[in-house]
Amino acid sequence: MTSTLSWIDEITMTQLERNPYPVYERLRAEAPVAYVPVLGAYVASTTEACHAIATSGDFEAVITPAGGRTFGHPAIIGVNGDIHEDLRSMVEPALQPAEVDRWIDDLVRPIARRYVEAFESDGRADLMAQFCEPVSVRALGDLLGLKDVSSDTLRDWFHRLSLSFTNAAVDENGEFTNQERFADGDRAKAEIQAVVDPLIDHWIEHPDDSAISHWLHDGMPEGQTRGRDYIYPTLYVFLLGAMQEPGHAMGSTLAGLFTRPEQFEAVVDDPDLIPRAIAEGMRWTSPIWSATARIATRDTTVAGIDIAEGTVVILSYGSANHDTGKYDAPTAYDLTRPPLPHLAFGAGKHACAGIYFANHVCRIGLEELLETIPNLERDTDADVEFWGWGFRGPTALHVTWEI
């Protein structure tokens, strides 16, 4: 199958992962819901199309093909009906705002402090590797019950799962073109199971307050636990997206602020601006850029385009958040723009379950960083490079400060 617009046939995965914005700008203008051959799926690129599909009764969740190949079934992001309801009821109790408020500061602040203290006297750092990613994985790792798994291991896991999950490129027969990214994802999953299986064995007999222990036991009849094969696909969702994306969000927020020095200063001077800075950072470079999908359950129409039953549409929220129909000058980071809602956390029944948790991890992380190093500056000897189509953020964020 090919699209009707020849330029769309020429799109490559390398091009999308390096910088998806030019392609998507053209898609939004010419074909807001379009079949993209290299992805083997339709993509929705405008705010209107993404929002309509995410909240429509004519669509239900489906995992992207490469995502399904990586996570297996039943992953919370790709299931519907009773299974989806059960998985949401399994993960949501720990992520309810009132519950998160109870422990988030005690959990995240000491972690953020510890990481910033480790380099605050150095005068330079790569904030992605030394702060944003470690704070992100340590906070969630401790919440899940993976306290004894090092932050570097958790970072390694999400990097490899991410490459596998977004390994979307297919040939003209719909076959995946790059098997190596899947193979490494499989090796990562084997390592994860080798570490987590014994923990699950322990939690089955000795439940504690860790999230995974609750996943096993909550809502189950006395003496029964959810099966590990049932839990693993959703655990991979957490070990990839929930581990990686708060780090991406912090990094993109800082990178965005570095493009507006006066706004950076304002945020340093007034930490109450941090939540707004993060919201704009996630609009500007949405961490979950194009990683979720829906499937049409009947013939339908979206944004004026006919969609046949069974059509898979990938929701490109990162593109929707640059829609000129909604945002003025969307390619610019601007803390002062009207705070319109964005789609970085998705919409509808499958909207991110961790919105509240993730926002607070980012807030506390940036509060501690800017409190400790208020004279932070971007290292102008190094460019900030962003990478990713499925998930996107800075690959490194080199900074300096006077000591």
Binding site: V268, P271, E371, T372, I373, W401
Partner: protein, 332 residues
């Protein structure tokens, strides 16, 4: 015109037809963050939940049309046209504060203390509770002109208002009154106290105060208050002026150096030699202090002075939440 009410949280206060929301709340003893009281800083931005407000002279820079549409208002500018419910600025808790009052004072001393700079002492008929660092509004006698002056005396002297006033050529208040017609015995209307630039009672560790010109006034209040609480505290005042003729209260502050082992004054002259340091106060601080991580900082001066002092403090890694600042805003 009828009287309405303003409600924030569980407290309702009366608000007259021409009275600003901020004025009504402060008079009602409800703390509302406020700083410039001229609509330019945005500190007192509130959200209107019900009722109606007039934005009056609220500048668009501080309160853009989108925010007005979203129900935001500047408490220092807004008046109400109905009983109105507001929310305080994000993250702020309302709390008891010094009640805003209208008072009458008598001019008891006017003295030249530096070039184009006078100290004016006013004595109040009744004592005024305030926090070290706050300011009052004085009405120039015989006019509607009101001017804001920081108090240089500490709260332990509640019947005194010590003002340091620099002459501005053509200024109605300074040139026309304080450097013109003022006489000891004059009766003056005063409203206060205002402002969020106050001594941080929670802070520990060294204090550093950067004052530009008559920005020394609130620093004097803060230092006296802090030393009364903790005579051994490490406190350094950097007073930045252009020439030696602009310095004042040097002898008094040198006396404090003798009395209090942790106190130090550093005079900084930007246009000549002869002070403790030649150059800007901000540069002297950066040279002297390698790390200000444990410090609490206070800054008072012109906008440019405050901006450069904030940068100097951050450069030495003072935590931004421990940086307290007061900008002079010239009268519109």
């Amino acid at each position: 015109m009828t009287q309405h009410t303003v409600t924030v949280g569980t407290t309702t206060v009366p608000c007259g037809p021409d009275q600003t929301v901020l004025d009504a709340l402060l008079r009602g003893g409800v703390w509302m963050p406020n700083s410039c009281n001229q609509g330019t800083c945005g500190t007192c931005k509130i959200r209107v939940r019900s009722g109606s407000v007039e934005h009056n002279a609220s500048p668009e820079d501080t309160l853009p049309p989108t925010e007005r549409a979203d129900g935001f208002a500047l408490a220092c500018q807004a008046t109400v046209g109905a009983d109105t419910v507001v929310e305080p600025p994000a993250g702020e808790q309302t709390a008891a504060t010094h009640v805003l009052r209208d008072l009458v004072a008598t001019v008891t001393e006017v003295r030249d203390i530096a070039r184009d700079t006078r100290r004016v002492l006013l004595t109040l008929d009744t004592p005024l509770e305030f926090s070290a660092g706050q300011y009052v509004e004085v009405t120039v006698p015989g006019t509607d002109v009101r001017r804001q002056y920081s108090l240089a005396n500490p709260p332990s002297e509640p019947k005194l208002l010590e003002l340091h006033i620099r002459r501005r050529p053509g200024g109605v208040a300074s040139d026309g009154w304080i450097f013109g017609t003022v006489s000891v015995g004059d009766r003056v209307d005063v409203t206060g106290p205002f402002g969020d630039f106050t001594f941080d009672a929670e802070s520990t560790g060294p204090m550093v105060l950067l004052a530009g010109g008559t920005g020394l006034a609130p620093m004097k209040s803060i230092v006296r208050h802090a030393l009364a609480l903790e005579p051994h505290r490490e406190i350094t005042v950097y007073h930045g002026v252009r020439t030696a003729e602009d310095l004042y209260d040097v002898a008094l502050l040198r006396e404090w150096e003798g009395q209090y082992p942790g106190f130090r004054l550093v005079t900084c002259l930007s246009r000549e030699t002869g002070g403790d340091r030649e150059g800007y106060a901000t540069d002297a601080f950066v040279e002297d202090v390698a790390s200000a991580k444990e410090y609490t900082g206070y800054i008072c001066g012109s906008e440019a002075f405050v901006d450069s002092a904030v940068k100097a403090f951050k450069r030495r890694r003072m935590s931004p939440r421990r940086i307290h600042r007061e900008k002079f805003v010239s009268a519109a």
